[in-house]
């Protein structure tokens, strides 16, 4: 089910891979990536932290783009999950953004997938690890206020 939907993303040249994560930071599916699950979970936690911080300012984050571990990361965020793509080239970014937008739409319209994600979110065995901002993160966030 998800494989077909994510195929459009992984077929783009210069896209290394893509993964789906719930808004509890758990990895739901990953395609074509060489990173281990712990690294992806940690990345997801950071993305959720950024999203949560903007939410405290009354702003909703739907897209995130940055450079990490020699990859360009493009992320689309919805209320319950996020789609995160890794690419090696900025030349494909327009195509990647369009494709991620369409992919997100297909996922949101898929009843089975949404039911699965919501059951994942309701499962109390998955808990985001509590953490504190690092000094560098605090300095960056102070600039955003």
């Amino acid at each position: 089910m998800i494989e077909d939907i994510l195929k459009d993303v992984t077929e783009i040249d210069a896209v290394e891979g893509v993964y789906l994560a719930s808004n509890r930071g758990e990895i739901l599916d990953a395609r074509g990536l060489s990173f281990d699950m712990d690294a992806l979970k940690e990345l997801s936690r950071r993305l959720l932290s950024i999203s949560a911080f903007y939410a405290t300012l009354g702003k909703k984050v739907t897209e995130l783009e940055f450079y990490w571990a020699r990859n360009f990361i493009t992320c689309k965020v919805s209320d319950h999950f996020m789609v995160v793509a890794f690419s090696h080239s900025t030349q494909v970014h327009s195509l990647l953004r369009i494709t991620l937008n369409v992919t997100m739409s297909k996922l949101l319209e898929n009843k089975k997938f949404n039911k699965w994600v919501k059951s994942h979110l309701a499962d109390r065995t998955y808990i985001i690890k509590k953490c504190e901002w690092t000094e560098a993160e605090e300095k960056l966030l102070a600039k955003l206020k």
Binding site: D8, S94, R97, I98, N101, S105
Partner: protein
Amino acid sequence: MDKNIALHEAVIFALSKSKSPAEVTLRSAEWAVITQVDGQKTVGEVAEVLAMDLDEALNLFNELYEKGLLELISTRKVEEKFLPAEFFDILENELTRIIGPVAPYVIEDVLWAMEANKDQFAEDREAELIEAISEEIPDEHKKVLFQQSMLSKMKDMHSE
């Protein structure tokens, strides 16, 4: 840079054999470029690896060349491919289907903002054009419908 050499993203440099980077003081951005120069990567590819704007990369390469730290390997430029007229017919039809008769005017406005025209529109900017036009569609659902439709059309055209 030699006046006869036009610096562009497809130019390839190698480190100079006659002068070492250790002999001069370099900024961190210049050092970053030096670490990527291998006689094979183009200026554009180095800019991508370093997540650098192309203009910034071109300036850095020019400065390093002027300091005698780089040797020119190749200035070959890849021939640019343009989108066929048929693409714009498809684009206008799809956009009209989504937003109505203002579609041609939206396309013209976006092309003007991109400093481009239909007659010679670079093929590698196709997705950029679709994205820019999408941003002109205020309704989120219609925007996705347009993007989905154009992705499918683009796939069909490229597979022919």
